[in-house]
């Protein structure tokens, strides 16, 4: 008896150690990211970093202004969400409510394969197909714009949004839908007045997670947005080139002299990115927990 107990305990603690490892790793990432990021503020005032309008990291009078990069990320992500949310929810409704099981089973793996396409492939597709298309359609000097990035990121956020919303929609209790139908509502009325509102918390969480995916994406945006570090105007800036925080880090990390202000500035940008995605994930989690559907 004792030895069995002992073994169980050992296994339990090994499993605990493994799962604790993820927390430790996250903690260490935070530590190193923030340590190097905060070093920037020894030389550059915090306010001039956060509110600076210019990102000239290699000039003689180097300027590290976060605003153009932050707003660049924001405009691309917002565009991606505008593009992917209606499409994603519509697909989720179709898959879980309207499609016959056969069709749904056929569609689902394709949605998930979409998630598995490497981002460089999306980027390449965007570069050779979407970029010329956008340039010709809007008669622009270049097709490498925030809009191009938004569309590509929208497509990439789709699988997250579809599969999580689909989960939420199909977990709405059948009794609710049957009640609605029994009262004489049509199928469509049931979907948009009952099923979707009932699944709204799950759908919101899906949108937040899709947003997290879009804001952290690097390779694709770097290939199709032109990477111009100027503050995008609103709303016309959607047709101008922009540079996101992720692309800045990827583009400049290679050459940056270790320990320089520029190096620390990239870490500071990374910290901001980390905080933003962390908050988005927390928010998604909170929404999911707080408004979990309680009818049973």
């Amino acid at each position: 008896m004792f030895s069995r107990n002992y073994r169980e305990k050992t296994i339990e603690s090994v499993l605990f150690a493994v799962s604790a490892l993820t927390v430790v790793i996250l903690f260490l990432i935070c530590l190193f990211l923030f340590r190097d990021g905060l070093t920037l503020f020894e030389d550059v005032p915090f306010l001039s970093f956060v509110t600076g309008k210019f990102w000239y990291p290699t000039s003689v009078n180097a300027q590290f202004g976060l605003l153009p990069l932050f707003l660049g990320s924001l405009i691309v992500t917002a565009g991606a969400i505008l593009f992917s949310v209606p499409l994603g929810i519509a697909s989720a409704v179709f898959i879980s409510e309207l499609a016959s099981p056969k069709v749904a089973d056929f569609l689902k793996p394709f949605v998930e394969i979409l998630a598995g396409v490497p981002s460089v492939v999306y980027g390449f597709f965007g570069l050779v197909v979407l970029v010329p298309f956008i340039r010709e359609t809007f008669n622009l000097p270049t097709g490498q714009t925030a809009l191009t990035g938004s569309i590509m990121l929208g497509v990439m956020a789709l699988p997250t949004i579809i599969s999580i919303s689909e989960d939420a929609i199909s977990s709405v209790p059948g009794s609710l839908k049957q009640g609605s139908l029994a009262l004489g509502a049509t199928r469509w009325q049931t979907i948009y007045k009952v099923t979707v509102p009932a699944a709204l918390s799950g759908i919101s969480a899906a949108v937040m997670l899709g947003m997290g995916r879009a804001i952290g994406e690097t390779m694709t945006v770097m290939m199709v947005t032109g990477n111009t570090a100027i503050i995008p105007s609103f709303p016309g800036g959607i047709l101008d080139p922009v540079r996101t925080m992720t692309a800045t880090i990827a583009l400049e990390m290679g050459e940056v002299p270790q320990g320089s202000d520029h190096f620390h500035a990239l870490f500071a940008v990374g910290s901001v990115l980390f905080i933003v995605t962390f908050l988005i994930n927390l928010l998604a989690d909170a929404i999911k927990k707080k408004y979990r559907f309680k009818v049973d």
């Binding site: 290699t58 089973d105 050779v128 000097p141 097709g143 490498q144």
Partner: protein, 295 residues
């Protein structure tokens, strides 16, 4: 059920790929493992080279030919940018750093601090050509015009003899040696215009310029093909086209040396490889890749 099947097929395919990968590494390890017992110095077996993406095709081709000639020796070449290669050499990770620009003072200081004395070898010359879309009527630019286009004072093609269209200016990211070289040679004291499009690779510049009639970019001559048009440039002594003759003779103003950096006087396999690149045979290979020999 249908998608379970799809998963199964995909999983099997994936596993197949993974095993393929394992198979490859095993073989290499086996081949390298045997002789290493006889010769204790690991450096004698293989060297690694890292650095400029501009030098990459050259270094790769030289390495391939070198290994065909001496099958028991291995030379590994990777890119990443001049700065990446130099940093790796300073950290002692690679035997040769390739660069499309000279080492900076700050890098020399870092190297000294790490006990490394970088030695410069000029192995080839590269021409930088300024490219536009083949549909663009502009085929000549002076240095002043290029400077204007890249610092932001010229924004329309009609200011340099073209159509009334806004110029889409393509630049490289700051990790690129070509970025630094172009800035020094053309922009002089100026900064790149802030609204220039930063492309992560030379290939991206070629692809955008070939599809976009408003675009201008700068690329290494080795990347020139029919999809883009190289313009003749004038540094004050008349327009010169980036032809091989003009670059070798030094008439073309936008040409630069390509470097290998080693830690001190090279020895062992590093020396053999550098000597091979500098030999007549090695220098002929350089021409085949699209660069220009030193001798």
């Amino acid at each position: 059920m249908a998608h379970l099947k799809t998963y199964a097929v995909l999983t099997v395919l994936l596993m197949g790929l993974v095993f393929l990968g394992i198979g490859c590494t095993d073989n290499e390890a086996g081949e390298e493992g045997a002789p290493s017992e006889e010769v204790p110095a690991a450096e004698a077996q293989g060297i690694s080279i890292k650095g400029s993406d501009t030098v990459l095709p050259l270094a790769q081709y030289e390495a391939e030919q070198f290994m065909i000639e001496y099958p028991d020796k291995s030379v590994t070449v990777t890119g990443g940018g001049s700065g990446v290669g130099i940093a790796a050499m300073i950290d002692g990770e690679v035997d040769i750093a390739t660069a499309s620009r000279e080492m900076k003072d700050s890098e020399f200081e870092n190297a000294e601090a790490n006990g490394i004395t970088p030695l410069e070898h000029v192995v080839a010359f590269d021409g930088i050509s300024v490219v536009v879309n083949p549909e663009n009527p502009v085929s000549e630019l002076t240095f002043d015009q290029m400077r204007g286009i890249y610092n932001g004072s010229i924004s329309n093609w009609n200011e340099v003899g073209g159509e009334d269209k806004e110029i889409a200016v393509m630049s490289r990211d700051s990790s690129s040696g070509t970025y630094e070289y172009f800035k020094e040679a053309v922009l002089l004291e100026d900064e790149y215009r802030p609204d220039a499009l930063t492309q992560p690779t030379t290939g991206a510049i070629v692809s955008e310029v070939s599809m976009n009639p408003n675009a201008i970019g700068y690329i290494g001559v080795a990347y020139l093909d029919d999809s883009v048009k190289a313009v003749s440039v004038d540094a004050g002594e008349g327009f010169t086209y980036p032809s091989p003759e003009n670059i070798i003779s030094g008439d073309y103003p936008l040409s630069r040396p390509l470097y290998f950096y080693t830690d001190g006087e090279p020895g062992g396999l590093t020396k053999e490889f550098v000597d091979y690149v500098m030999s007549e045979e090695g220098q002929n290979l350089i021409l085949e890749v699209g660069y220009f020999p030193v001798q």
